[in-house]
Amino acid sequence: MKKPSPMKKLATVATLGLAASLVGCGSETSEPAGIDPQVYTDSLFAVMKADRTNYTKLIIKRLGPAGADVIKPNEHWEDLDSGAPLPAQMFRFGSELVSDMTSEFTYSLQSIWPVNKQNAPKTPLEKEGLQYIVDNPGKNFYGTESLGGVDYYTAVYPDVAVAGPCVDCHNNHKDTPKSDFKLGDVMGGVVIRVPLTKS
């Protein structure tokens, strides 16, 4: 067999190096390291739900106008003395801080009856999922979608009226399209997205 020339050797090494680095790039977001994506998003949701319920019950209900009345839960809380972020804002601030720290997952709170129209489902899968959790109380929705050239594993979990303030505030809000929510109703959903492979 003919020995490869030094130039050829160099070219082979370079090609292999390039290929290796490309594979390296690809694996950055692929194969969620052994853990089933559903277990991953279910666990994330458990933490989110616990924090969200606690904020509403322990802070808003206890200290807000329905309780001690020492804080003002308000969309423009930054502009008020003793203003406090709404539960939905608290949730979004969490999600925004998370996106500063990692791009391994993103999440948001949405509804088919949104107070803030920017919280209406946008992608076809979000629309399908949010309708599904309303039609099937107690069930979650899972699927995959492609957005901006990236594939995602997307899970949708019901967001339930866990305390009086959820219902009272939404039913009476100027911008709500629905004013007959009851305690225990599905008011919207938490959408968690995990990038799979770059397509």
Binding site: L147, Y152, N171, V191
Partner: protein, 444 residues
Amino acid sequence: MKKISWIIWLLVTVAILGFFGYELLFKEQKPNFLPGAVTHGHFQIEMACDTCHIDPFGGEEVLQDACINCHGEELEKSLDSHPRKKFTDPRNADLLEILDARYCASCHLEHQDAMISDMGVSLPSDYCYHCHEEIGDERESHKDLPYDSCQSAGCHNYHDNRALYEDFLAKHLHEPNILPAMKTHDDFYESNLEKLAKVTGFDAQPLSLSDADNSDESKELMDGWLHSSHAESGVNCSQCHGSGEDYVEIPSHENCQSCHGFEVETFLKGKHGMRLAAGLSAMSPDDSKLAMHKSGSLEEHKELSCNSCHMAHEFETEFAAVDACVSCHNDEHSNNFENSKHFSLKDESGANKVTCATCHMPKVEVNDKGIKGFKVNHNQNDTLRPNEKMIRPVCLDCHGLQFSLNALADERLVESNFVGMPDKHIESLDWVEKRNSTKRDSVY
């Protein structure tokens, strides 16, 4: 023959490379590398390329960092309605393809001066539609409004809506045009002298002529100092001029900064000080694109430093608040100040109650070394554009919200420096009132 042409070619090439290379690598100003005219916001520093192009090898992220370096704090303070973080979720991917709102430069393109609006925006003015298309169907009041009227009708801004959001409007319904009392703030240094002296260990005793530690100056100059608030509060010559080896004849803004940090910091952020902030020579009215009294050939070339408005030694604020401004600014609004209602308001001593500075350099709340009070914001651009930014820190000190909105929306009235009554009526407060009357009862 052939050899000679080679030599000539070589020489010409080296000369050209040398000329451009020297400018690129060693000169502060690089006019031959400017790809297109810069917007009115940046033209003063257009030759300080690396203020924006902080790294030659960076893409849009690096440019974005440069925008945030200078404008980030201001955006945060304005409770920016459209911060980048609202757009990073992948669910916005298809919207970002139309308009990538994660980057300032998507709307504020540079080096394209011809297509830039007053607000520094390089997009057609109906951009709100891309994301808020549904509003016309949602709200009775918004039906049939033109797509480009969201920000041009005195109702919304893209970034700063602190004086425009619905709850704020609701709080200010039915206010009179002129409020019963004008809100004023005491001078920070005068009212906190003792506290400041305690915190800084500075001896704030009044000084006399014989105390001056550089007394061999002219009588006029010494007199100026003696009757200034500096001498009254124990600030001696060497505090500004330094002494011994550190002596400077004309102190710069850096010298002032040691005591007046907030004032200098804000001065450097506005169009008066932005050239100094970029390490360039001071701005001059001759270089301005606004209508200015240019220095005549005989007159001294005017330059912008602290002393341009606050005359050295006297440091009078009254001169700085009107006369200094109109000695350079030569537009209708400035020139008409004398004919305005604002100008006619005088206190017992006959001094102006409202000056150029009252509106353009409002006093803002600060906390300096644990002492709370109000200091003058020397960045006159902070509240200038869009002009609704002026409502909360300025207009509402004396006027109701409806009147303020109407007046600021009336371009003619602004130009004439508010001689007369507003011709415009901004309807947003009426709409808020109507919507509130249908609000259901709730503890929230």
